[in-house]
């Protein structure tokens, strides 16, 4: 017998006009499938109530219009929408998407100069810096979510050996193009922003361009592969090594 999406979901409160739907506590292709399918269903059936949706690894944040809905109504509608859909078909939905996923290659200049946390990660992992780089670029990653900042794609999952917790206090300025690690996630910062991830290198590509079509080189469900480049190649590709890049606080 098939299990409905609702049976996989836990609905909780986020804030005044927002609910969270959790499909699990761990990132996995299966959970991601449920998230993608539920997002599509909610957009289809609840467009008049929803202000915005924020899908992520294992959850969807649902922002609703507080003027004519309360959270009880929104919960009950979410239940109805999710109940009528079997989660087996959501796996089929994502299997199909995975097979047709494009692979995007991103060049990275890995070095202590461009990646101020590289040495620390190597030390904690009891590996050499070049081993950390080798492990990071060895595999293809899946785009699990987009958010935090325009064009910020959450990629997973990185090898356990180089997984590193976030910094205890976020940096106020992380440079554009910073390739970074938090736990078993990795990402490229598309623009200068605050952030608490460990920086291991810099990518010279634009991850977000409001005037381009599409605005981003990747979308949820795509695969990403990192490729090490030299400093000369990095600069030739338009990369910039800024003083801000090494600013810590």
């Amino acid at each position: 017998m098939s299990i409905s999406l609702l049976e996989r979901a836990k609905i909780a409160i986020a804030g005044e006009n927002s609910l969270m739907i959790y499909f699990g506590e761990q990132a996995s292709a299966e959970v991601s499938a449920h998230v993608q399918q539920a997002e599509q269903l909610i957009r289809q059936h609840m467009a008049d109530i929803i202000i915005d949706l924020v899908p992520s690894y294992a959850s969807i944040m649902v922002m609703f219009n507080l003027l004519d809905n309360d959270h009880h109504q929104v919960r009950s509608q979410l239940r109805t929408v999710l109940k009528n859909f079997s989660s087996n078909s959501s796996e089929a939905f994502v299997a199909e998407k995975t097979n047709t996923a494009k692979v995007v290659e991103l060049p990275v200049y890995y070095s202590p100069e461009s990646g101020p946390d590289l040495a620390n990660i190597a030390k904690q992992a009891e590996l050499s810096i070049s081993q950390v780089i080798e492990i990071h670029q060895a595999q293809e990653y899946r785009v699990y979510a987009i958010g935090f900042a325009p064009g910020f794609a959450y990629l997973g999952e990185i090898d356990k050996r180089i997984a590193t917790p976030r910094l205890s206090s976020p940096r106020l300025k992380v440079p554009k193009g910073a390739v970074a690690i938090a736990d078993r996630q990795t990402a490229v910062y598309p623009s200068v922003s605050p952030g608490g991830w460990n920086i291991i290198g810099l990518c010279p590509m634009d991850m977000f361009d409001a005037s381009a079509e599409p605005v981003m080189p990747v979308q949820v469900g795509d695969k990403v592969k990192f490729k090490e480049i030299t400093k000369t190649e990095f600069i030739a590709l338009g990369g910039v090594l800024s003083v801000e890049g090494r600013e810590v606080k």
């Binding site: 986020a14 969270m20 992520s56 064009g151 910020f152």
Partner: protein, 317 residues
């Protein structure tokens, strides 16, 4: 081709931004909401100009801002008590004023509160990006070119007949007082269960001070460090007002320009009525958190809305 006329920015001040109600529906590419930090003052400014409530205004932070009118029209300014002059003569906030082409409108520095809203009849005519004019500097999106206003910028607007037109004012008893002490009513939510009951009691009974890092993205507070049983979570959507507790235990209340997704644990979310007030506080101000249920929060939201709609503006000359 027509040359845009409206208002010329003479002095941009510390941080002056075009803001409409905010950008919604672009979270899937990582664009945050933006929009007015003090939604209440923003709505009043537009109401005093008889505008739709959500049209584009200028959010002036701290002050030191001046404009030269290039058209005859009506403006209204609300929010922090920045001294307002038109052609050097002191004028009141919380009411509309007729201005003529050539008039100089100046805002000094606020002694209480942080942000003012400058509205004009019909709103400023700004091109939308991703469905909104809201400026988010960090994203380089919105406003004139994704940035704060600069000297020499021209903010287009329509001219409006001012002959025989009556001004509107909000009676003084309805003006907010921006005190440097505030209770932030907070809905316990998100990773609340990863904070022990002792840590939750500590959070809701401690006094916090606004640190030097307070901006449109978030207000970093200083006080009793709050411990969470976990270091991080799978990154997930962050709602307006969410209270993030990073590993150093110092709460950050996330505001309009917050990141859309993040992985620090959150203990709850401050209601929008109170984030609007928080956004008028600056370094050194004191806040307390007070728990509130989702149902009570909804009730307060609708009461405030009803009160806003039922408060009549008074005609004046």
């Amino acid at each position: 081709m027509t040359i845009a006329i409206g208002f010329l920015v003479k002095h941009p001040g510390i941080l002056s931004l075009i803001q409409d109600a905010g950008r919604f529906g672009a979270f899937n590419i990582g664009l945050t909401n933006g929009g007015p930090i003090d939604k209440s003052a923003f709505h009043w400014a537009n109401r005093l100009c008889a505008n739709d409530l959500d049209v584009s205004t200028i959010e002036v932070s701290i002050g030191g801002f001046s404009l030269i009118a290039q058209v005859d029209t009506v403006i209204a300014i609300t929010g922090a008590n920045m001294p307002l002059t038109i052609n050097g003569a002191a004028k009141a906030l919380w009411r509309s004023h007729k201005v003529k082409a050539g008039d100089l409108i100046e805002l000094g520095f606020a002694s209480a509160g942080v942000r003012c809203y400058v509205a004009v009849v019909g709103g400023f005519t700004i091109n939308e990006s991703f469905g909104s004019t809201a400026t988010v500097c960090r994203e380089q999106i919105g406003g004139l070119a994704g940035d704060k206003l600069a000297q020499g910028d021209i903010l287009a607007c329509q001219s409006a007949s001012i002959k025989g037109k009556q001004n509107l004012l909000l009676p003084e008893c309805f003006w907010p007082s921006y005190e440097q002490e505030l209770v932030l009513r907070t809905i316990p939510s998100y990773q609340q269960h990863y904070f022990s009951s002792q840590q939750q009691r500590l959070f809701f009974s401690s006094e916090y001070t606004v640190s030097k890092s307070f901006d449109r993205m978030g207000y970093r507070l200083e006080g009793h460090a709050i411990k969470c049983d976990i270091d991080g979570i799978l990154s997930e959507g962050i709602c307006h007002g969410a209270v993030q507790i990073p590993a150093d235990g110092q709460p950050i209340v996330l505001m309009n320009d917050r990141q859309t997704i993040g992985g620090y644990p959150k203990i709850g979310a401050v209601i929008s009525l109170d984030t609007a007030k928080l956004g008028q506080l600056s370094q050194g101000a004191k806040v307390h958190f007070e728990p509130i249920s989702m149902d009570k929060a909804h009730n307060l939201y609708h009461l405030a809305l009803s009160r806003f709609n039922r408060t009549a503006l008074v005609k004046c000359d």
